[in-house]
């Protein structure tokens, strides 16, 4: 009996080992199979996708990765760039800054990628940017909106670019929208205290809203992955503010809106691009979403976005969310840069910096060489009975105007 137990223990350990290894190879997908090979000179250009495929931010990383894959698939189906196919090697940043550095290092030194896309979340991009800079490999961060991603000590990081607008723009747009369009005098901030994204948006919103004559009367916080928000919402209700600003991601936002309306909070609820996922409507329900507004990168009803949405639906059989769209944009930008540069990372960098009026999934973008932020418009979207409507569209700010803004600050 003891013998069989011992044997069984051994057997189960082996079984676990086999299962685990099967799992890990599975996660990497078919693309990593050839990862160890040297870059096949001549017929392939290898780029790295460093995304959060597991861990807390996996849903954002996985969507951005899907967007990137679609952009690359499109160009390969169309014959590649100058007759060469682009190959993506994936690596998992596991939603952690340290792992993001490991993944970037592996992609650069083992897989010899010519450029990197990702990760999705700000902290993970900032972590990898040093490795990429040291190795002179350009990065395009699809969705990292924190200003520090591309700028360090007031100087632009030469090899780091992004495909999205930056946080101060979002908060300023929403603060002005609250003051001017909604005539709000008082606001409550309800922030995700586990996210730098949420906290920095809250801070800038407060500065701008108060500079314009409004008052922030209460600040409350929650944590990502929370399920129940009623305690804090009951407290927020007592403040009786005109608007509630919730710069956070859609999963929590959906629940916050649902529970706020259940408690009888009727005030306008405002947010940022983290809201941009059609799942918000499923989670919160149509009625709860009336009188809510958020700003984002594109409006899904815009004519110029339709080809992307259609292609994404055909490929993945689901609607793209904002991470997927920005992953796709980043892919388009990189493909465009590679088109003229081939395998040369330095030239790819120069080409990304020089992007002008490039048509990507969410519109036309131009890269600002002084900040490495694309110059792109912002849209404010209102949800009415479960349907998203374009409320206002704020035109792209030219680099000169942006500089003036920065000088004022």
């Amino acid at each position: 009996m003891f013998f069989s137990k011992k044997k069984f223990r051994l057997a189960s350990m082996i079984a676990c080992g086999i299962l685990a290894s099967a799992l890990f190879t599975g996660c990497g997908g078919g693309d990593s199979a050839g990862g160890g090979e040297q870059k096949a000179a001549g017929d392939e250009i290898v780029i790295g996708a460093n995304f959060e495929l597991t861990g807390n931010h996996a849903q954002y990383g996985a969507n951005a990765n899907n967007g990137l894959k679609l952009a690359v698939k499109e160009i390969n189906d169309a014959g590649g760039v100058n007759g060469k196919k682009i190959k993506i090697v994936e690596a998992d940043s596991k939603s952690e800054a340290a792992e993001s550095v490991n993944a970037a290092t592996k992609l650069i030194s083992d897989d010899k990628v010519v450029a990197l896309v990702g990760p999705a979340v700000t902290a993970n991009v900032i972590a990898e940017s040093q490795v990429a800079t040291d190795n002179m490999i350009p990065i395009i961060a699809p969705a990292a909106t924190n200003p520090d991603v591309t700028v360090e000590n007031g100087k632009v990081k030469p090899y780091v670019f992004r495909a999205c607008f930056i946080d101060p723009q979002q908060s300023e747009v929403m603060a002005q929208f609250a003051r001017k369009d909604l005539m709000a005098n008082t606001a409550v901030l309800y922030l995700d205290s586990s996210s730098d994204y949420s906290k920095s948006l809250g801070k800038i919103f407060k500065e701008r809203f108060e500079a314009d004559g409004g008052t922030v009367v209460m600040e409350e916080a929650f944590l990502a992955k929370d399920q129940d928000f009623k305690a804090a919402l009951t407290k927020i209700q007592t403040a009786n503010a005109d608007v509630i600003f919730v710069p956070a991601y859609y999963e929590e936002v959906g629940k916050i809106i649902k529970q706020a309306r259940e408690l009888g909070i009727t005030a306008a609820i405002l947010g940022t691009d983290g809201w941009d996922d059609s799942k918000v409507i499923d989670i919160a329900g149509k009625d709860a979403l009336n009188n809510t507004f958020f700003c984002t990168h594109y409006f899904e009803g815009d004519a110029e976005v339709q080809p992307f949405i259609k292609a994404y639906k055909a490929e993945y059989n689901t609607d793209p969310n904002v991470f997927a769209a920005l992953g796709y944009d980043a892919g388009k930008m990189l493909v465009n840069a590679i088109d003229k540069a081939g395998n040369d990372s330095k030239k790819i960098r120069d080409n990304i910096e020089a992007i002008t009026d490039l048509q990507v999934g969410t519109g036309k973008i131009t890269m600002d060489p002084s900040t490495h932020n694309p110059i792109k418009g912002i849209v404010v979207i209102e949800t009415k009975d479960g349907v998203r409507e374009l409320r206002t569209k704020i035109a792209p700010i030219s680099p000169e105007a942006q500089e003036r803004n920065e000088a004022e600050q």
């Binding site: 223990r9 676990c16 299962l19 996660c27 009623k230 305690a231 999963e251 259940e262």
Partner: protein, 295 residues
């Protein structure tokens, strides 16, 4: 809204949140009671249960109660399998090995599920009417009342099984001394297997109900509720069924009051401070007796 009004509303919020902790804590505490294992994978079994319920509703087009029962049945088998494969071979190993294995099982369930169902959260379709009652200005949610009553009913059934049935007697005997129980003709392995079966079925029930109430499920949804349920179980006295329910509700109320009257940032700190305080002052928990373990 005056202070008294807010206080009552916060108590309602707290009890409804606490009833969810209590539901998860029941399975936790039961497994601990029998084999003294803190089953860190319990929160992940709860997640798997939620996904099975989700599949039953969206793919199988079942209504909520058949889906709940199906999920409980399948998850019960999963619980037994986990016990058979991961824990049983370690029956005579030091307890720390079991604990570490439990953490391993937890990660295994999380990331295997993430591979198959993708990390994107899923939203439950509306399977139960969501009615909020407004009683003199206080808002009470119908689904929450349902969850609270299911928790209490399950607690009563479990207490009955453990205290009055032959299986319960065997469970208590095995919990007291596995080897002696075996000598007395109790099939300890079967008893432990049954415990995991029941504990996992409870977790599945919690998973489906929480999925329906909060509307979303994702592969990492079990981590935080699992930890909170652990705190609830320790607070009530780990291994004691009514203790788990009271512990869960007390924890929910404390969280709501801290968030409502101090600051929402301190909410989780308060929850885990309770854990530390209980372990310092009354390690047996609210309902526990202070007994020294026999050597």
């Amino acid at each position: 809204m005056d202070f008294a009004h807010q206080l009552v509303q916060q108590l309602i919020n707290g009890v409804s949140l606490g009833s969810i902790y209590a539901l998860i804590a029941l399975g936790y505490t039961m497994i601990y009671g029998i084999i003294k294992l803190i089953n860190f994978a319990h929160g992940d079994v709860y997640m798997v249960g939620a996904y099975i319920g989700f599949a039953a509703i969206t793919i199988g087009h079942l209504s909520i109660f058949p889906a709940l029962l199906l999920s409980m049945a399948i998850t019960a088998v999963l619980g037994m399998l986990v016990e058979r494969i991961a824990y049983k071979p370690l029956r005579h190993a030091p307890r720390i090995s079991l604990l570490i294995t439990a953490i391993g099982v937890s990660f295994f369930l999380e990331y295997t599920s993430m591979y198959f169902v993708t990390p994107t959260p899923r939203t439950f379709p509306e399977v139960m009417p969501n009615i909020s009652f407004n009683l003199g200005g206080f808002i009470i949610n119908g689904q929450q009342l349902l969850i609270l009553s299911i928790t209490i009913v399950l607690m009563a059934i479990l207490t009955y099984i453990v205290q009055k049935t032959k299986l319960g007697k065997a469970m208590r005997a095995a919990s007291f001394d596995t080897e002696t129980a075996q000598l007395m003709g109790v099939d300890s392995d079967k008893v432990i297997s049954m415990t995991f079966c029941i504990g996992s079925a409870l977790a599945a029930a919690a998973g489906v109900l929480v999925g329906v109430y909060y509307n979303t499920i994702d592969p990492l949804m079990g981590i935080m509720p699992g930890l909170k349920a652990f705190v609830a179980a320790v607070l009530g006295g780990i291994g004691i069924l009514p203790g788990a329910v009271v512990g869960g509700i007390v924890l929910g109320v404390v969280e709501a009051l801290v968030a409502g009257f101090l600051s929402s940032t301190f909410r989780d700190a308060a929850a885990f401070a309770i854990l530390i305080l209980v372990l310092l002052i009354k390690p047996g928990g609210l309902f526990g007796k202070n007994t020294n373990e026999k050597v």
